[in-house]
């Protein structure tokens, strides 16, 4: 069975104080339906991803139905998905499973989030709930600190330098500057990154993703005829979701590595076969960790790999041409869906100023939540451009 990405669409990520989650999601859905050349009535199941509209919007239940009835989708099965920052990729995964099971022929996945609610403490508290609150409530846990912890050890060991950390942020902002959907569209210098306000050692403000509003949508189908216009088609080669593995010993593989290994096996490819990556850089320098976790380079060699220029937009293995979470933005429930939208545009050659080299295979990695070591969830998807 072949599963195709028939259409993708987004509402730009950023701060949209006057827009509701329905306003945001509507744009992404309409754009994805248009891109797929289908109407609401052609969709026979919906997977709706949102993480925070319960705490921040008060809409604890049926968030998907509330959005989708605006667009005339109300009788098909609508499933609401929450898996912290990995909600979007989890929804994609569920859609793939439904298609594989034959329960649906054409599925809409939508991810939407509204994090700017004029109450910063409420937004931060909602984010903190992506951890086990019985452990973290008294610790003032922020996710920036988790990435700070991971990177501080590498700095102390000499594996990476502060300049490396800053250079990833420079690279992300360069990509974001070219992306009309990105929250941060301003190029920055290494000095500006290092001089910006310290958030959590060694991470400065310009290395971190911000709270964000936005939406993304994808139409997936199976056994559907090729488009008549001869446009390149993108298919899903792997869809893998894993939950946090408790790192009982220091040598255990990370959850991202475990998920990626299954995804590579499912697709019958290796990391060097992939031409473009979107990874979960909630803080820009986390990209370095994922170079190693996803097998782009050997453990301990991520800094050299970055310095080689391989992962820049014009490199051989570009990573986060969208600007990633740190520059495109990270409206939590939309991020995993936006990664699939970006990679679909990249594989089709429709990514405009941020278009990478001509490539057939792409990989998305999206993590969510945190259990005092491993992420609570991690999904990896591999997409391939097929010759219609």
């Amino acid at each position: 069975m072949t599963i195709y990405v028939d259409g993708v669409g987004m509402h730009p990520f950023g701060q949209f104080r006057d827009k509701s989650v329905i306003d945001l999601a509507r744009v992404a859905i309409l754009n994805a339906l248009d891109d797929a050349g289908v109407r609401p009535g052609d969709i026979d199941a919906v997977y709706s991803s949102n993480s925070m509209n319960g705490l921040l919007g008060g809409q604890e239940m049926i968030r998907g139905q509330v959005v989708l009835r605006e667009l005339g989708m109300h009788t098909v099965p609508i499933t609401n998905i929450e898996n912290a920052c990995a909600s979007g990729s989890t929804a994609i995964h569920q859609a793939v499973l439904a298609l594989r099971a034959g329960a649906a022929k054409r599925v809409l996945v939508v991810g939407f989030e509204k994090m700017f609610v004029d109450d910063r403490d409420a937004s931060l508290a909602a984010l903190q709930s992506a951890s086990d609150l019985s452990v973290t409530r008294d610790l003032a846990l922020q996710f920036t600190a988790i990435y700070g912890l991971r990177l501080q050890a590498r700095l102390e060991s000499g594996a990476v330098t502060l300049d490396d950390l800053a250079d990833v942020a420079v690279k992300s902002h360069e990509a974001g500057a070219r992306n009309p959907y990105a929250q941060f569209r301003k190029r920055v210098s290494r000095d500006e990154v290092l001089a910006s306000r310290m958030i959590s050692d060694p991470l400065t403000l310009l290395m971190c993703s911000s709270i964000s509003d936005g939406a993304a949508a994808v139409v997936l189908s199976t056994d559907t005829p090729a488009p008549l216009d001869g446009r390149a088609r993108v298919r899903v080669r792997s869809s893998v979701l894993r939950s946090g593995d408790f790192l009982l010993d220091a040598k255990q593989k990370s959850t991202a590595t475990l998920a990626a290994e299954i995804a590579y096996e499912e697709a019958g490819v290796g990391p060097t076969d992939i031409g473009v990556f979107e990874v979960h850089d909630a803080m820009a320098p986390a990209e370095l960790i994922y170079y190693e976790d996803l097998g782009l380079c050997a453990p301990g060699e991520s800094a050299d790999y970055l310095r080689s220029g391989m992962t820049a937009i014009d490199g051989k293995l570009p990573v986060n041409p969208s600007g990633g979470l740190s520059s495109r933005g990270h409206p939590v429930g939309a991020t995993g869906v936006a990664q699939i939208a970006e990679l679909t545009w990249q594989l089709r050659g429709e990514a405009g100023e941020r278009q990478v080299h001509d490539t057939q295979l792409a990989l998305a990695q999206n993590s969510g939540g945190w259990l005092e070591g491993p992420p609570a969830a991690c999904a990896v998807h591999i997409l391939e451009r097929s010759a219609s």
């Binding site: 931060l124 409530r137 008294d138 610790l139 003032a140 912890l149 501080q152 009982l248 010993d249 220091a250």
Partner: protein, 127 residues
Amino acid sequence: MTSIPNLDLPRVEDRRRWDSDGQCLVGTRCPECSTLIWPGRSACPSCGTFGLDEAPLAREGDLLSWTRVFVPLAGIEAPFILAQVRLDDGVLLFGHLRGTPESGVKRVTVHVDETQRPPFWFQLDES
């Protein structure tokens, strides 16, 4: 009396997480494979055995990594230091750190005081 199995298991909320007399954290140990974990669980994350024993954890360990956080949250004053620690019995922990990690000292001791927030922290052995 009930005929429903497992209904009378002790409440998770009542499971001890620390011991201020012993100045240590309390987790669970698997009676089959000896895996220690914090916070305690009902089943072993390593082998799946159900019915774990309460176990005091080591009082000392190694600092794996740290970060000084400059953004206050939930009434805790910034800056403060968060740290990842591996206790001498192998348990991986996350919590607040007191001391000066820039000193290069890597040994820490667990402290417990339930009147404080957070109720436990790691103290760098700098003296």
